[in-house]
């Protein structure tokens, strides 16, 4: 269709929306935001007559590339180090995608502008597209990559693994709680507008550098829908800003959504990009460099800051703090180290770092070796069974961390750990911003104002607690992360597949001491013990080191 006829077509379909005369559509999701009814323009201007063939055409390219990858034996040159992390990533991401589809109806009754609903419905079906196209990519990996373990049990693993639980916030945050907080601020204004860049642009580039050119095809196709969704979010945000009464809620939600996305997305994607790659050319950007450009410059400086003039209170402090975490406090390195510490509780294999990796890290993050080098040497030394335990149970000067009750990533930057008694339980938080999210933001009142529609943080949020007192072999068995011989583990701290003696089995785990939940222990302490514990914990690190005795 010509541009002119698209414009006319779009004009015409505006006639479709109508005001109910007899019955209002059901109202099932509450919000504390208020919207004034005003004529709005549909920011998408998408007509299904051109939309469906356009998407079908994009599909042709994706599925053509899939066939090509198989015919061209792509897997002969794919790096296992990289593809193993896809077992985690592709187990998580179809849920956030489909959750974004599910989130759209939260907006229908709360944003009373029927012109926007057309765009929301198109986003809904875009998200169905993303979810199933990604699920399909995973299926292709399972069928064609050397080690299907972890792909073949993907959606069960994801549901009972603590990494899956961390990732699930990036889905459940879209669909529950205050409808605008969830479906607009958390989903479109922060997750899509800020963080899909790292997910769908940075990640694919790294995949290509590791021999996988299929993932970029799929994810660029996904990302090409994203600008539409960003427009949806922007239109809703401007409407919310029009009402002064919303400003306090916007400030709250932007702080929560920004910080939670940083904690969750930077943890996962940062780890994939920095520790899942074999590309150690010095001219390739580090995650920190990409973050600075895409999130700090493109999102924060170019997208958020201009909104300040409309009254949006921007969490400048938390944005600077996220950067501080990534650049000065080693957030991504701490997370990768923790994932590798707990390799046995996962469902993918984690390749040890080599001298070549060390060199690159030192070049990109000066001081890296002093902090993390020794530990990764230990990881390498302990990677194949030889009478010792997995690294988590060996003495490598690593204090197993407490969970952050809010973001569920552990409290890895030790000095930032905050402890508080909330809802009758002693909880640990990775940072004051996570304490605030739990204790102040997700509450039925906020700064003296009633917020009856605000959601709640629920669930059994510390994974370790479920297995308090269990033998590690039983833990892994309970989660189902065992291969088809009934004893070899899915996870391995190395990439050797050909030598059975190098593979860890449940028998090796049987000899370890029981798993202890840090949170259960914390709650058993006397007040004095707890205070002493906290004082010592915050003096620990970096790289999980115990506090030096004074």
């Amino acid at each position: 269709m010509s541009r002119q006829s698209v414009a006319r077509a779009h004009q015409k379909i505006q006639e479709l929306s109508w005001e109910p005369m007899y019955h209002q559509p059901v109202s099932q999701y509450g919000t504390d935001y208020t919207f004034r009814k005003a004529q709005k323009k549909d920011p998408l201007k998408q007509v299904l007559r051109s939309y469906f063939p356009m998407q079908e055409e994009k599909d042709h390219r994706v599925y053509g590339a899939s066939d090509g990858a198989i015919r061209g034996n792509m897997f002969r040159q794919v790096q296992e180090r990289w593809l193993e992390w896809q077992k985690l990533f592709l187990s998580i991401i179809p849920l956030p995608e489909i959750s974004a589809a599910r989130a759209m109806p939260l907006l229908f009754r709360n944003v009373p502008n029927p012109e926007l609903h057309n765009g929301q419905a198109i986003q809904m079906i875009d998200e169905v597209r993303h979810s199933t196209i990604q699920q399909n990519l995973k299926r292709l990996y399972m069928n064609n990559y050397i080690d299907p373990a972890g792909f073949n049990s993907s959606l069960r693993n994801f549901q009972n693994d603590y990494c899956g639980t961390i990732g699930r916030q990036f889905a459940e945050g879209f669909i529950t709680g205050d409808a605008i907080t969830a479906a607009s601020i958390y989903l479109t204004i922060v997750a899509e507008t800020a963080f899909t860049n790292t997910l769908f642009v940075a990640m694919p580039a790294e995949a290509a550098a590791n021999g996988d050119y299929l993932l970029p095809t799929v994810f660029h196709s996904v990302q090409s829908d994203e600008s539409r969704h960003i427009s949806n979010g922007y239109a809703t945000l401007l409407m919310a800003l029009a009402d002064e009464g919303n400003h306090q809620l916007l400030e709250r939600d932007l702080r929560y959504a920004w910080w939670n996305n940083h904690r969750v997305v930077d943890a996962a994607i940062g780890t994939f990009i920095e520790y899942g790659t074999k590309d150690r050319r010095k001219d390739r950007e580090s995650y920190a460099e990409m973050w600075r450009r895409w999130i700090y410059d493109d999102y924060y400086r170019s997208y958020l800051v201009p909104l300040e003039k409309y009254g949006l209170v921007i969490p400048h402090d938390l944005i600077e703090e996220a950067w501080n975490q990534i650049w000065n406090k080693g957030y991504v390195h701490e997370v990768a180290q923790f994932f590798a510490t707990g390799w046995l509780a996962n469902y993918w294999r984690i390749d040890p770092m080599t001298d070549k990796d060390f060199e690159w890290f030192e070049y990109k993050y000066p001081g890296w070796y002093d902090r993390y080098g020794k530990w990764w040497e230990n990881y390498n030394r302990l990677s194949t069974p030889n009478g010792h335990h997995p690294i988590v149970a060996e003495d490598v000067d690593y204090q197993y961390p407490h969970r952050c009750w809010t973001c569920m990533v552990p409290c890895l930057v030790r000095e930032d750990m905050v402890m508080a008694q909330v809802d009758g339980q002693w909880r640990t938080y990775c940072h004051e911003a996570c304490r605030w999210t739990d204790a102040e933001a997700f509450r039925p009142t906020f700064q003296g104002r009633n917020t009856p529609n605000m959601g709640q943080l629920i669930g059994a949020r510390e994974w370790e607690t479920l297995y308090h007192g269990w033998n590690w072999a039983d833990v892994v068995k309970d989660m189902g992360f065992v291969r088809d011989d009934g004893r070899t583990m899915v996870a391995q701290p190395h990439l050797h597949l050909d030598d059975p003696k190098k593979m860890w089995t449940l028998d090796h785990l049987r000899r370890m001491g029981p798993l202890q939940s840090p949170n259960v222990l914390l709650n058993q302490m006397t007040d004095e013990e707890r205070a002493a514990f906290h004082a010592s914990y915050v003096r620990g690190g970096p790289a999980g080191r115990f506090a030096r005795s004074e």
Binding site: L48, R49, R76, N136, N152, G177, D478
Partner: protein
């Protein structure tokens, strides 16, 4: 949004990471092992759909993480009054040392539903792209053949007002009933099927709107905005409008889908589309409108009704709650037939408007009633007496 900048890629290295390159535990375990297929073999559709939406009753060990203000998270089964076997078993509770086990998969009967249309990304875009291509081609061919010139003024009026009015039904139900329902079903299979249904209707609404745009260009004196007045105030349409709005007001997602696809579409949708427009158009020299309305009819009768029937059939024959479900379904049936029949009857004046009359209204109504009776019988439900009031 940032666009991808070209990044140089290191030279490929031979890694031999291909399936079959080595033998080790799990090396040939190449199927998703966390669900049981409906038939003998796992289908592509099942692989990309099943279990994407988690369930705390089987694998979701730590439970839902975010709740609404009332503390409920995820997809509460109580969002419909219907039940599938296992629904009454409690969600496993977690405590220190509880472990993460739930019930064996599937924890309850809702997980047994499969969309017989096997809709997912690939199928839904292919199908809808084909429909819009077909519709475009038909309209273009008609334009070239000057087919619209044969229309008599009464038929032009009929199309601008009444065929036009129907787009509002499609649009309203597509957005506020079916798209809305995609947040509420207990499994990914339910919600994806309902999302696809929603797009059929929204597309059909746009097909009709854009068709009007063409008619505006092709037919002298065609008044493209006439449908608004018809929808807003023509007494023949107010019954349909009242029921359509009432459908969007239903809280129970299953009731909404049932009322729309089992009752309203067969008794009003097919009455209007198949028994009126498709019958009257050719007699009045119009061979184009039936192809557009027919596309929508095909969506409903071949796809949307199909998944809906499969969905409710499972519940009507549930091994634990068949009786409970049948009682509720029969109640819905009586209630919605009672509400819908007057709306169907109110459309009667439309039958006398074209110059060349379609089949008699009463005959048309008899046809849809017997079609409806067949659908009800297939589901093993009771034909409500409201049908003949």
């Amino acid at each position: 949004m940032t666009t991808a900048t070209e990044r140089s890629v290191p030279k490929p290295v031979f890694t031999d990471a291909e399936a079959g390159a080595k033998e080790f535990p799990d090396s040939s375990a190449r199927r998703f092992n966390y669900y049981v297929p409906q038939k003998r073999k796992q289908t592509h559709y099942e692989d990309v759909t099943v279990e994407v939406q988690p369930d705390p009753r089987h694998y979701l060990a730590q439970g839902w993480l975010y709740g609404f203000a009332d503390g409920r998270g995820g997809y509460p089964l109580e969002w419909t009054a219907l039940k599938a076997w296992g629904s009454n078993r409690p969600v496993p509770s977690r405590s220190p040392g509880s472990g993460g086990q739930g019930y064996e998969w599937p924890a309850h009967g809702w997980h047994e539903f499969r969309d017989p249309n096997e809709e997912w990304e690939l199928s839904l875009y292919r199908y809808n792209a084909n429909v819009v291509r077909q519709v475009n081609a038909n309209v273009d061919a008609a334009k070239q053949a000057k087919a619209f010139e044969q229309w008599n003024p009464n038929w032009v009026r009929f199309v601008q007002q009444h065929v036009g009015a129907w787009m509002h039904v499609d649009h309203g139900l597509g957005l506020y009933l079916f798209a809305n329902a995609n947040r509420r079903g207990p499994t990914n299979m339910h919600n994806t099927a309902m999302a696809v249904n929603s797009m059929h209707l929204i597309r059909a609404a746009q097909d009709l709107a854009l068709y009007q745009l063409t008619l505006d260009e092709e037919i002298e004196g065609f008044f493209g905005a006439a449908h608004l007045e018809t929808w807003n105030s023509d007494p023949s349409w107010q019954g349909v409008r009242e029921v359509a709005e009432r459908l969007t007001a239903i809280d129970d997602w299953a009731e909404a889908v049932f009322a729309a696809n089992i009752v309203f579409q067969p008794l009003v949708g097919e009455l209007f589309r198949s028994q009126l427009v498709m019958q009257a158009a050719p007699r009045n020299g119009d061979f184009v409108t039936p192809t557009i309305v027919g596309a929508e009819e095909f969506d409903f009768s071949e796809r949307d009704l199909r998944y809906t029937a499969a969905m409710f059939d499972l519940l009507a024959n549930d091994r634990e709650f068949a009786e409970h479900n049948n009682r509720i379904l029969n109640g819905w049936l009586a209630n919605w037939v009672g509400l819908t029949m007057p709306a169907a009857r109110a459309l009667q004046p439309l039958w006398s408007q074209p110059d060349s009359k379609p089949i008699r209204f009463e005959d048309a109504l008899d046809r849809v009633k017997s079609r409806f009776a067949g659908i009800v019988e297939d589901l093993g439900l009771e034909l409500p007496k409201e049908l003949d009031r």
